[in-house]
């Protein structure tokens, strides 16, 4: 049985943020996650780093938190944040009164919202609706949730923090009124284990209530489902928000070559169901078309769904997006802290407040330093120069940002084996060297893990070309152990299919027919063997 000081349950933004915070304060911490990092809400949202302007009227406290954390993350997380800025756009027919309240709300929260001349706004975003009557500029940004979590972990590891993915917590062990450990199960092998610790942090997002219930404590976190659509084009360079009371389908966020439209909001019994329904997709498209009139002509890549963990009275979007730290010694159990509610933009603050509670109980005096130190160092300029011949011009910065500390070893490998520069994923410009680097990580077990590290398979072809290449290359380099290559490809394609199926028309049905022509008709990935 292993033993650490703190076990963090949950590998989303909050959990990885807590891991980083505690590790930087010198507390020996292990994070466990039942899937891959960011495999739920932290990877299943619009990827918007809020300026807070969206909450300026409805939730002033969140608005203020957002703008402060937005500034910090743009500094410490520049390799997972794209500083796009954002527009708030009021259309003909949207209430003018709300605009006034919103401007006042932004001012009160100290969110810099500046009116943009309509002609200038159209020059900057030519696809925007002609029905726009007011446009404001705010410091919204795009953020890659997968990379954010991994960069938190990379930073934590430098301070001794550890991570075990595909490890599900199954129970909390107690001795009298104290927590003494957690029982865990390896979700890939089924092996059961327990980990001794002085403190458990429950950062399980929508599943916080479930984890707390193992200790006999009730925490009422309600999952609230949000559906999003990824489009195959970057038709906006800025985050676009509708300037009206927050509603479904009024946020667009550009990410690399794609654009994400979100979201919906509906209370659900379980956060485990993350397959979007056609009706939800249609509602998003309907509302989104008001901001971008040509939206129905744009090719969709896929739809996906995640769940916001809401902790507060009230339901859905009307509830506060605030977070609450629950020190369960008030419930008569020492050594358990739950981080409930919250949202991605303020995850760092939530982690800081959680770590404060944990440190107080552990008697650790060190202060939080997560806001001061970047998560990933910039690559040295010499290294970038050395790397240049091996990457497409646009792909170089992408790779450097994605790889972080692994960039150096990857470039070194490329100097020895230049043929590994070949692009496995043309859509997202991912080289073989990068795929191999991700595959060599001890936390990588399938192509989905590689996808979340590299973005391979997230673009136009949705895995049609890169899945065979990635598996082929990994088998060649003996990086898949005894796994069945065919099963790896199939699992990857089926995961992508879940998001294509709810939008199966237009070019999506074309792509699906193509994928089946290749993988079923030509390669017979689906048929049974001859004998």
């Amino acid at each position: 049985m292993d033993s650490v000081t703190v076990v963090v349950i949950g590998g989303g933004a909050t959990g990885t943020g807590i891991l980083r915070d505690l590790s930087m304060r010198g507390v020996k911490t292990l994070l466990i996650e039942r899937g891959d990092l960011a495999s739920d809400a932290s990877g299943r949202f619009h990827g918007l780093l809020h300026s807070g302007a969206r909450y300026a009227v409805t939730d002033p406290r969140s608005a203020k938190e957002c703008i402060e954390e937005n500034a910090i993350l743009r500094r410490i997380g520049k390799h997972c944040v794209e500083k796009t800025e954002g527009f708030f756009v009021r259309l003909e027919g949207d209430g003018e009164d709300y605009e006034g309240q919103w401007v006042a709300g932004c001012a009160a929260a100290r969110i810099h919202a500046k009116r943009v001349d309509l002609k200038e706004a159209r020059r900057l975003e030519p696809h925007l609706s002609r029905r726009a009557v007011s446009v404001f500029r705010v410091p919204d940004s795009a953020i890659d949730g997968f990379r954010l979590c991994w960069q938190n972990v990379a930073s934590a590891r430098r301070y001794g923090g550890e991570v075990r993915t595909y490890t599900e917590a199954t129970g909390i062990e107690r001795a009298g009124d104290r927590v003494v450990g957690v029982t865990v199960c390896d979700t890939l092998t089924g092996a059961v284990d327990s980990i001794g610790c002085d403190h458990v942090v429950n950062a399980a997002g929508s599943w916080v209530g479930r984890v707390a219930s193992w200790a006999g404590i009730e925490v009422d976190v309600k999952p609230d489902r949000g559906v999003l659509i990824a489009f195959n084009h970057r038709f906006t360079n800025r985050v676009i928000n509708r300037l009206r009371p927050p509603a479904n389908g009024d946020i667009f966020v550009p990410h690399g070559p794609i654009t994400v439209l979100g979201t919906t909001s509906s209370p659900v019994a379980s956060a485990d169901d993350n397959v979007p329904h056609v009706e939800e997709v249609l509602e998003l498209l309907h509302n989104g078309t008001e901001l971008f009139e040509d939206l129905p002509k744009y090719r969709i890549l896929r739809a996906y769904a995640g769940a916001r963990p809401l902790y507060s009275p009230g339901e859905g979007r009307a509830a506060s997006r605030d977070f609450t730290i629950l020190d369960h010694s008030t419930d008569g159990l020492r050594g358990l802290t739950s981080a409930a509610g919250g949202k991605l933009t303020s995850y760092r603050l939530m982690a800081e407040k959680t770590a404060d509670v944990v440190c107080r109980e552990l008697g650790v005096k060190a202060a939080c330093r997560t806001a001061a130190e970047p998560m990933v160092e910039d690559p040295p300029r010499r290294l970038v120069t050395r790397a240049r011949p091996f990457f497409p011009p646009y792909g170089l910065d992408l790779a450097a940002s994605r790889l972080g500390a692994a960039f150096g070893p990857v470039v070194q490998g490329l100097q020895m084996h230049p043929e590994e520069r070949r692009l496995i994923c043309e859509c997202e410009m991912v080289t073989l060297a990068e795929v191999e680097s991700a595959a060599r990580e001890p936390t990588t077990f399938n192509l989905g893990d590689i996808r979340r590290r590299t973005r391979m398979g997230m673009g136009t072809c949705q895995g049609a070309f890169c899945s065979l290449r990635a598996v082929g290359a990994l088998v060649s380099h003996d990086l898949v152990a005894d796994k069945d290559g065919k099963a790896l490809i199939r699992d990857f394609l089926e995961t992508r299919w879940k998001g294509i199926r709810p939008v199966l028309w237009g070019d999506q049905i074309r792509e699906a027919e193509f994928q089946r022509e290749v993988y079923a008709a030509t390669l017979n990935l689906d048929g049974t063997a001859q004998r």
């Binding site: 199939r490 299919w497 199926r501 027919e513 290749v518 390669l523 990935l525 048929g527």
Partner: protein, 414 residues
């Protein structure tokens, strides 16, 4: 422009065979093509019927066809036309100097780029798997930098095939294309050159011995003949087998080139890079179709029209939310009421996908019908993937249906 007998719309396998069959009957044929169709996606083998509806492999495809439902394209074309179509196809290939072999009543299993076997019927000699079935050991040749082909992946899969060799080794050939991404077409063009072939043979000889069975990606030249294959066999005294792989499928492109040159020989006029945008109809007949090419609109009058525009991938079918249509004639395409019934929960589900079976319903003469089963136009015929009632990817029947329905329509036109 002088009127012709038949306009074939679509330059994929079904359109090419239809044009050839009509021309064989001395019809004056124009074939209008937007591109090369899905022929470069498949591998150029003629799959006839690999699996029955329950997912069991079919040992005798021709016999199995008798059990197909009446709306399946094979059932529509009829038993006699089916047998004749394959004869016609084999004859075309023979005459074109690129003979195919096989029988519609014997399933043959060919190795693929992911190490599976897939059922098919007619093959070019370069894809014949017989030597592999008889061998105790085999060599898999790879090419440095070829990014859609991985010998180790193939070996890992083939090792699991009961009757196959258990000993494999690899030989990697360097085509000296470092510095750029390489696909099968690059290698095939390299092997079109004498210096490329010599360099390749020389490198292969370091790892293969006389009598070996050698698996290669589909790269043995771009030209539809067995020149590269024979040169390799002669220089090494080995047996070579081309494996099916990712697009661009060189083996498919070879078949395309062969058929194009055969129909040209038979006097078919080909209009390339042209998209048919609409049809001119009059009193239950189509009188002409209009193309939009690189320059201007053109009208192509004819007595009969064969629609060989393919499925969703090729643009012969289009889907919006809740509906699907055929864009040239605006013919009806039936779809389930609820969008969630369009597809199965799994992409490769072990059963037919509903959307893969969307297409045109036709009568016994392959003429698209309206809801009541009556032909919409007396002189418009539909062939290949445009037809409803079969999932070619699941059944492994795409090229077979293309050949059979293409031939059948070519013999029906007035």
């Amino acid at each position: 422009m002088s009127a012709c007998d038949v306009v074939v719309i679509g330059g994929g396998l079904s359109g090419l065979v239809a044009a050839a069959a009509a021309a064989e009957r001395d019809k004056k044929v124009v074939l209008i093509a937007k591109g090369v169709g899905a022929i470069a996606v498949g591998s150029g083998s003629i799959d006839v019927l690999g699996y029955e509806a329950g997912g069991k492999p079919v040992a005798r495809p021709l016999a199995e066809m008798g059990k197909l439902p009446s709306n399946h394209p094979y059932a529509r074309a009829g038993k006699q036309a089916t047998a004749k179509a394959f004869e016609f196809f084999l004859d075309l290939c023979e005459k074109g100097g690129f003979p195919y072999s096989g029988s519609a009543d014997v399933a043959r299993w060919v190795p693929t780029a992911i190490g599976t076997l897939k059922p098919t019927c007619f093959l070019p000699r370069s894809m014949d798997p017989a030597p592999l079935e008889a061998a105790k050991a085999a060599v898999v040749v790879g090419f440095r930098g070829l990014k859609d082909y991985y010998p180790e992946l193939i070996i890992r899969g083939l090792m699991q095939v009961p009757a196959y060799p258990k000993r494999f080794r690899t030989v990697i050939v360097d085509p000296e294309m470092a510095g750029r991404d390489v696909n099968a077409l690059d290698i095939a063009r390299w092997l079109d050159t004498e210096s490329g072939r010599h360099a390749c043979i020389e490198q292969m000889l370091t790892g293969i011995a006389p009598g070996n069975v050698v698996l290669v990606p589909p790269v043995l030249g771009t030209v539809p003949n067995y020149g590269v294959l024979e040169e390799f066999e002669k220089a090494t005294t080995c047996k070579f087998i081309e494996i099916t792989g990712m697009p661009p499928a060189i083996t498919g492109l070879r078949l395309y080139d062969l058929l194009v040159s055969e129909i040209k020989k038979r006097g078919v006029r080909i209009v390339e890079h042209a998209t048919v945008t609409r049809a001119v109809v009059d009193n239950g007949r189509c009188t002409a179709v209009v193309t939009h090419g690189v320059d201007r609109e053109r009208t192509h009058p004819a007595r009969s029209f064969i629609l060989a525009t393919g499925g969703f991938y090729s643009g012969g079918l289009e889907a919006g939310f809740g509906s699907a249509r055929e864009p040239v004639f605006g013919l009806p395409v039936k779809v389930p009421e609820s969008q969630s019934d369009w597809s199965n929960a799994f992409l490769l589900s072990g059963g037919a996908q509903p959307f893969a079976r969307f297409g045109l319903d036709v009568d016994a003469r392959l003429r698209p019908t309206d809801g009541s089963g009556k032909a919409v136009f007396e002189n418009v015929y539909a062939v290949g993937r445009t037809l409803s009632g079969f999932d070619d990817a699941f059944e492994k029947s795409g090229n077979g249906v293309a050949v059979v329905t293409g031939y059948r329509a070519g013999t029906l036109v007035a």
